[in-house]
């Protein structure tokens, strides 16, 4: 008999045994009887008309089963890939929402756009046949950057989208901001680029579809973070299938980071194709294919201005951003640089007036959507960079300037000027914790030591707030969400007392099988080993919105907690009957229902037996069985926050930046499993470090080709790029989630880019450098040093 392992403990993960022994079950591991192979033919051009497709030679090749194109999609009357958010401009005019066909119809709009799906007996045959499909393209001029896309005369992706602008969105009180700027003692200004990223979960995307003509049932196995949402969007809006005839399974998924939280055309095409050919069909993306088809992230060009009074108090912030959407609107696309960006510009500060304008722009690039942090790292980067610029302009210490403007702990709940109300937080506590942990006091000594070996050392600070736990449905609906954002959980107590949880979130590295089991173990007093978590299968789990936006514990965990409470409520009724006591006198603790003030008690196991073998049971008033379900819709976002400090060393001869130390002190609310939270912070921080120092998705401006289209050219952080990080939590409890939790999945990625770049700028400050765009590659840094106004001090 195992033990209860509850909230705050760090049991080793339940999921590890299968992953460590090679027994994971990823989509690419699955085989179905009679399975054929599918390969997508993708556009080699950034922008072109399709004048015709000749599939004859491919179809004549032995082993080829079918070649499907946009014409077949149109002939079957299928829908376009839906966008889950509909935003509006300042006058309430809806965004431009051109169709996103699952296979291109008449035109391709980015390198990688899907043109045909070739099905054959083997991958090799399908690949060869795809090369035989003759597509007659008329190549059009293309545009890949946002600044170019909005220029008059730029190539237009859609005839009815002038200047390629999908939506001219704004937030905040423009007049109040203008007034504040007129009164300002100082205005800090900054232009910056937030570089385009590619998420690169280590498992490439894959899908298998199967149709059973006997039952009319479709099954799709897919590398998804939200199988129920895929089922809904695909069946209701794209393929027009009855939802009860579609099963979507997302088994073990090898990392997501947002990249797998969209309904992709490949999923719809393969599901549709499997029925057409009456064979199971499997598609597994190569990494190169992922680069031109996985949704990209970030890609902003921004102008920001911060107004301050003579003491350095922030008076107002004005931010104007051009955000790249790529060639079409992806599932969350337009929501990311707007609703998940503007409201975060308040940060941990008391800035009274904020205005944000975002032009959401189409370009001939892969569609851009959420990538870990999604909008919030971009906002944090703008804010934390301009605070450093202001500090430098005004000659005020960077930490002191932040401290002067931070929201004091006592001021929570705090209403920002940009929609959101923070329920709790302690930015100054996080800052002080980080300053001590990073040994900032002795930085000067370390800098001098670096200087003695000819290196420049820099220290960078970043604070942040994240709005996560997506999301309160009603609030999200007002912002343009077209779906609900609640979560559901079922707690099934088996007759012998073990528990299975069915939950609508999806575990792809976050450790839910462990943390959710801890919650149940503690709440129901069941041994940790007797709780299993089931997710990722629409035929097993009732419903769910999936895992993204740091929502699994905050929203899913809350649903789970509520469902467990319902089990206790029912258990009390059963116990009252069995113990011949009043329900009001039944007390539940540590897995036992007891009558207050007596030693009479029943274990949860005994209650379960009674519920499933209801011989002595109040059947007149109570249903048998012990299984409860709860849906939870959050009342607010949660607001994790914190302070990150990065320390870098630069070799001025080569421009190489080395991250030498990193400290994070984060307020993530209640911590269920400290080991897992620490792991989430490590991983998140390194993804942000990747953006700051290494990662960059680069398009060729004239051809629209992706230049960084493989792991040879897109630099993922490696073990030898990094130091040991110091992470700690300084938590205040969320006031509105059942357990006080806030979420931790994205916080690392939100705080780190600004911390690292602020450190790089600090290291170069003596040369007059005031800003460095990401990634801070050696070449870029060396050029900055060359161009600097002051000569390099010969030390």
């Amino acid at each position: 008999m195992g033990n209860v392992i509850g909230i705050g403990a760090s049991p080793r993960r339940k999921e590890d045994q299968r992953f460590l022994t090679g027994r994971g079950n990823y989509v690419s591991d699955i085989k179905r009887p009679g399975m054929a192979a599918g390969v997508f033919l993708r556009s080699p051009h950034a922008h072109a008309l399709i004048r015709g497709i000749d599939k004859q030679a491919a179809l004549e090749m032995p082993g080829v089963i079918a070649v499907l194109t946009g014409e077949d999609v149109a002939a079957d009357g299928l829908g376009s890939l839906p966008c889950g958010w509909g935003i509006t401009d300042a006058r309430g005019v809806p965004m431009k929402e051109p169709p996103f066909p699952m296979l291109a119809q008449g035109k391709v709009r980015f390198v990688g756009d899907m043109v045909a799906f070739v099905i054959a007996e083997t991958v090799e045959d399908a690949s060869t046949a795809a090369e035989l499909v003759k597509v007659d393209y008329e190549v059009l001029p293309s545009v890949v950057g946002v600044l170019d896309a909005v220029r008059p005369g730029a190539p237009k992706l859609f005839d009815d989208v002038p200047n390629n602008i999908c939506c001219d969105w704004e937030l905040g009180d423009k007049a109040a901001v203008d007034t504040a700027f007129r009164k300002a003692a100082h205005v800090a200004r900054l232009s910056l680029v937030n570089n385009r990223l590619i998420g690169n979960p280590m498992e490439p995307r894959a899908a298998i579809a199967e149709y059973n003509p006997g039952t009319g049932q479709h099954t799709l196995w897919t590398t998804s973070q939200f199988p129920h949402v895929v089922r809904f969007l695909m069946s209701a809006l794209v393929l027009k299938l009855p939802e009860h005839k579609v099963r979507v399974v997302a088994p073990d998924v090898g990392g997501g980071f947002g990249v797998k939280q969209f309904h992709y055309g490949e999923e719809a095409v393969i599901t549709w194709a499997a029925k057409r050919v009456m064979r199971p069909v499997k598609w597994v993306a190569s990494r190169s294919e992922c680069y031109v088809s996985d949704r990209h992230g970030r890609d902003h060009v921004t102008e920001a201005e911060l107004a301050l009074d003579e003491k350095g108090k922030f008076l107002a912030l004005r931010v104007k951003t051009l955000a790249n959407m790529g060639g079409y609107l992806s599932t969350f696309g337009p929501n990311i640089p707007t609703n998940l960006y503007g409201p975060l510009l308040s940060g941990v500060y008391t800035t009274p007036a904020i205005y944000c304008n975002v032009k959401v722009v189409f370009t001939n690039t892969v569609p851009v959507d959420a990538y870990r942090g999604a909008g919030r790292p971009e906002a944090t980067f703008v804010l934390e960079r301009i605070v450093d610029v202001a500090a430098s302009d005004m000659g005020i210490d960077r930490v002191e300037l932040r401290r002067r403007n931070m929201i004091p702990k006592e001021a929570y709940p705090y209403q920002t000027p940009v929609l959101v109300q923070y329920d709790s937080g302690d930015p100054i506590g996080c800052l002080d914790g980080a300053l001590a942990a990073a040994d900032v006091k002795w930085f000067g000594t370390r800098k001098a030591a670096s200087a003695r070996s000819g290196k420049f050392r820099g220290l960078g600070f970043s604070t942040y707030v994240e709005a996560c736990g997506l999301a309160p449905s009603r609030f999200a609906g007002r912002l343009g969400a077209r779906g609900g954002l609640y979560e559901s959980a079922t707690v099934r107590v088996h007759p012998a007392g073990q528990v299975t949880v069915l939950i609508g979130t999806h575990n792809h590295g976050q450790g839910h099988e462990t943390t959710f089991a801890q919650i149940v173990s503690e709440k129901l007093g069941v041994a940790f080993e007797n709780v299993d978590i089931v997710f990722g299968d629409t035929d097993r789990v009732q419903f769910g919105m999936g895992t993204y936006g740091s929502r699994s514990l905050v929203v899913g965990g809350a649903a789970l907690s509520k469902a467990a409470d319902k089990v206790i409520v029912k258990g009390k009724k059963i116990a009252a009957h069995l113990l011949e006591a009043s329900e009001a006198d039944i007390h539940f603790e540590a897995g036992k229902f007891s009558v207050a003030g007596t030693d009479r008690a029943k274990t949860l196991g005994e209650i379960a037996v009674a519920a499933y073998v209801p011989h002595n049971y109040p059947l007149e008033v109570l249903e048998p069985g012990l299984e409860e379900q709860a849906y939870y819709d959050p009342v607010n976002f949660t607001y994790p926050g914190g302070c990150h400090i990065a320390e870098v060393e630069i070799d001025p001869e080569t421009g190489a930046v080395t991250l030498v130390d990193y400290t994070a002190v984060d307020d993530v609310g209640t911590v269920i499993n400290p080991m897992i939270v620490e792991g989430q912070l490590h991983g998140g921080i390194v993804q942000g470090v990747g953006q700051a120092l290494y990662e960059n998705a680069v398009y060729d401006e004239s051809s629209g080709q992706l230049m960084s289209g493989s792991l040879m050219d897109y630099c993922m952080p490696r073990a030898d790029h990094l130091p040991m990080m110091k992470v700690a939590t300084h938590s205040t409890l969320c006031t509105h989630t059942p357990m006080g939790v806030k979420g931790c999945g994205e916080v690392g990625t939100i705080g780190s880019p600004a911390a690292v770049i602020n450190a790089v700028v600090d290291a170069l400050a003596h040369l007059g450098v005031t800003h460095v765009d990401m990634p801070a590659t050696p070449n870029r840094i060396w050029r900055l040093i060359q161009n600097a106004s002051l000569p390099i001090a010969a030390e």
Binding site: E124, S127, Y694, M712, P778
Partner: protein, 267 residues
Amino acid sequence: MRSFAYHQPNAIPEAVSLLAEQPESRPLAGGMTLIPTLKQRLAAPAALVDLAGLPDIKGCSNGNAVVTIGAMTTHAEVASSPLVKSQIPALAALASVIGDPAVRDRGTIGGSVANNDPAADYPAGVLGLGATIVTSAREIAAENFFFGLFETALKPNEIITAIRFPVPLSAGYAKFKAPASRYAVVGVFVAKTATGVRVAVTGAGSGVFRVPQMERALAEAFDPTAIAAIKIDAEGLTSDIHADAGYRAHLVTVMAKRAVATALGAA
């Protein structure tokens, strides 16, 4: 990957005749470049002639102040060879920074030199040390072997069997590694020999090249300061998304200085 015939000959003449019989055939050494090329369907040879079964073209030996390395010797074997480490430590160091450990366990010196990737490490060592490439047909001096961008003096049915490295007085290799590919953005091999100094650069241009100006300066004074002021012309050097030509030109000087410093440390 398209299908191909596979041969594993047991003798060099057999390998050569197999290659000659099938013009569309390719020799296979460690496969670290060829196999990814096949996987991505960028090449479709009719046959592969696997050199792994050939006797006597693996391992390191020495004699007459020359270290001979068999063509099928892996990078890991060169990096850890006590002989190479004692005779030409800079060459062992060069081998230890190629690719990553799993690549070093399979990749071979012969394959790397025959492939002549413009950013590969070995060409710098081979040219920098003035090595001799021994093939199934002849011996070729390094000067006459590398022709720029994946081109060499090798004929289609000619295979490298060994490379002979004269032992220098001292040598050093300094590499500025591309963080993603692990190839050299710029790598410089500097060798001081009885007959003079040789400086060979990889990564910077379309193929490995020497820098006579640095060689002259170092012959005068073998010290990093002797070349610190030498600026390389960026004209003709590679510009890509990782590094522009001007930066590469600058790195040649920096890496050359560091290679000299290493050579002095190791001398």
